[in-house]
């Protein structure tokens, strides 16, 4: 027996302390500070610690706020739909059609390798493809489909969506594939035995059983799209305004209190959406399975 025995509960607390301290001091407290700063006045590059509702009245009266949310929700809806369909198809193929474990591992690795390249580089990598002189325009003009290069391929909402789908499909496919891998093959065979076609197996058995994966993937997509400012700015050529872009612009202009007020709204929106989704799945239980 060790001389320095501690109770199991105290041991757990000790083990969790560094982690909890970081999460508390660097996540919880800062979020609380954002909320309080949103009620403060500001001068040029300084925060005046006095109660002030101006940030909120400005924010809630501005039609700009409404427009930025309209933009980001439209993008979210499109990106979510495409990544869900594509992510489902890819996972379904890898889990139920690829039979050798080796090939499944190779295909999964193949999907991960492009992400070893830095994000900004992956964004600029679309210039040689979608730009005015890019491969897509060259190909379309070469085949005579168009005689003028299409200008909306790059630095437009189109390119924002393309790059989102490129970067986020695996974030949706991963959790879905994880849920699918937990379905025992005999369940699928039982459904086939009962006369279900491949499509009926998907709708009647697979989709109900992968709901947790879809929920987790959806959460990834929501937080990525709602919280991103860099990608939208870069891929829209600074032409699109989403809530996160608006916040970044104000931070860069040192207007912290209005940025804080906007942050609180966006945070509430994101947490509200995620909280709603989490009602459908117990992630803690799901992870330990």
């Amino acid at each position: 027996m060790s001389s320095m025995t501690v109770s199991p509960r105290a041991a757990s607390w000790l083990q969790a302390t560094p982690f909890t301290l970081i999460m508390t001091c660097l996540v919880m407290v800062p979020l609380a500070i954002i909320v309080s700063v949103s009620f403060m006045d500001f001068g040029f590059a300084e925060i005046i610690p006095e109660f002030y509702l101006g940030n909120w009245t400005d924010l809630l009266r501005s039609s700009l706020t409404f427009d930025t949310y309209k933009t980001v929700f439209r993008q979210l809806a499109i990106v979510w739909t495409i990544t869900l369909l594509l992510g489902f198809t890819i996972s379904y193929y890898l889990i139920f059609h690829v039979r050798s474990n080796m090939w499944r591992a190779i295909f999964l690795a193949a999907c991960a390798i492009p992400f070893w390249t830095s994000g900004p580089i992956r964004m600029i990598s679309w210039v040689p493809l979608l730009g005015r002189e890019g491969l897509v325009n060259q190909a379309l003009m070469g085949t005579g489909v168009i005689d003028q290069p299409i200008s909306w391929l790059l630095y437009s909402e189109f390119s924002v969506i393309v790059v989102y789908v490129n970067m986020l499909t695996m974030a949706m496919a991963g959790p879905i594939a994880n849920s699918m891998a937990k379905i025992s093959p005999s369940i699928i065979q039982a459904a086939r035995d009962q006369g279900a076609s491949e499509w009926q197996v998907i709708t009647e058995v697979i989709i109900p059983l992968i709901k947790p994966g879809i929920v987790v993937g959806t959460i990834f997509i929501i937080t990525a799209v709602m919280g991103d400012g860099f990608l939208v700015r870069a891929m829209s050529g600074n032409q699109m305004n989403t809530p996160a872009v608006a916040i970044m612009n104000e931070i860069n202009a040192f207007q912290f209190p209005p940025a804080a007020a906007k942050s609180v709204v966006l945070l509430l929106v994101v947490l509200g959406m995620v909280g709603l989704l989490l009602r459908f799945v117990d992630i803690r239980k799901e992870l330990a399975r």
């Binding site: 005999s186 065979q189 039982a190 086939r192 009962q194 009926q200």
Partner: protein
């Protein structure tokens, strides 16, 4: 298990159809020179031929890796057939889809759909066919009644015990009105008490429905208790196919005699014979063949006592004698005894 006497199980099953060739089909299942090999490698099932008569309970028996489960999965259509033909009710189904061959499989893990209640699990195939909700649920309830699960119809699979899940799985397989029900080690996940109970139940349902059951097992006791036809398999081949009594009393070869249990396989002169352990005696000589041996262990089994002995060459023999006979003159471990049997109890085994 009480059977509701008003309940006519036969009416749940398909009308007996006229045989395709106008003659009389004597067999529910016919396998003709069926083989299975993976990627051109060694044969998991090697040219087996088997005929299962109408409405019989057939057990595929063998050690793990003998090809019995592969055989069952080929019957079900969950495994491609490399070579040979499979006929079900006189119809060639070798390349048929699982749901189109008139078989239904009950999986070892039961494979109940975890997101559906017991009732919806049983009603699944009807839903697939597009049967309306009330109609399919009523029909599913009939089958849950057959397996005595109607009172738990609305439970989810996770809320059911292993035995209950199995009953639901059975009902789900039967509702497709299969000509042949395939069962993959259906009792292996149950505790011994439930296993015997379910065994009786399976036999009752098979008799009531009058269809063929093909049941894969590694338990000789289960096979002997249930089967009209026992098929003993080893290394992808059929060692013997016959009635339970035939297989036990007249094992075709040493493998069957050893695997079915309760036999001594003994080389006498240039022949190999098997002698049932319950025909062997120790202590007193019976005027037959006598071998001097030493008792190595004694197992009390209730009505019987199993005694293991070893001869001078180190070969082991086993005798099963009734408890009355044993206790009238009980030998002790390490005691020198005579192990004996009568020549007429010897059964000649194929080389």
């Amino acid at each position: 298990m009480k059977i509701d006497s008003d309940f006519n199980a036969k009416k749940l099953m398909p009308e007996t159809e006229a045989p395709a060739d106008g003659g009389v089909t004597k067999y529910d299942v016919e396998m003709i020179a069926v083989s299975k090999s993976y990627d051109g490698g060694a044969k998991a099932v090697d040219t087996i031929s088997l005929r299962i008569p109408k409405a019989s309970y057939c057990c595929l028996l063998g050690p793990s890796g003998c090809g019995k489960t592969t055989t069952l999965r080929m019957l079900a259509g969950h495994e491609d057939i490399t070579d040979g033909d499979v006929l079900i009710h006189n119809k060639n189904v070798t390349d048929g889809a699982p749901s189109a061959r008139g078989t239904s499989m009950m999986f070892q893990s039961y494979a109940l759909f975890p997101h559906l209640s017991a009732l919806d699990n049983v009603a699944f195939s009807l839903k697939i066919k597009g049967v309306g909700k009330t109609e399919r649920q009523a029909k599913a309830m009939e089958f849950l009644t057959l397996v005595q699960m109607e009172h738990l119809a609305h439970r989810m699979p996770a809320q059911l015990s292993g035995g209950q899940q199995q009953r639901v799985a059975l009902a789900r397989s039967l509702i497709t009105r299969p000509k042949v029900l395939l069962l993959d080690e259906p009792l292996s996940a149950l505790d011994p008490f439930l296993r015997v109970l379910m065994r009786t139940e399976l036999k009752r349902i098979q008799t009531e429905l009058g269809i063929t059951f093909v049941h894969v097992t590694h338990s000789q006791e289960e096979a002997l208790a249930l089967s009209d036809l026992v098929v003993v398999m080893s290394d992808g081949q059929i060692m013997q196919a016959g009635s339970a009594r035939d297989v036990f009393e007249k094992p075709a070869n040493a493998f069957v005699a050893k695997f079915i249990g309760g036999h001594n396989v003994i080389a006498v002169d240039d022949r190999t014979v098997s002698v049932r352990a319950d025909k062997c005696r120790i202590v007193e000589t019976v005027g037959g063949v006598n071998i001097p041996a030493t008792v190595t262990s004694i197992e009390y089994q209730g009505s019987m006592v199993r005694i293991l002995v070893k001869d001078e060459a180190g070969k082991e023999y086993c005798a099963q004698i009734s408890d009355t006979r044993f206790f009238s003159d009980p030998p002790a471990v390490e005691e020198k005894v005579m192990f004996s049997w009568l020549p007429e109890d010897e059964w000649l085994l194929a080389a």
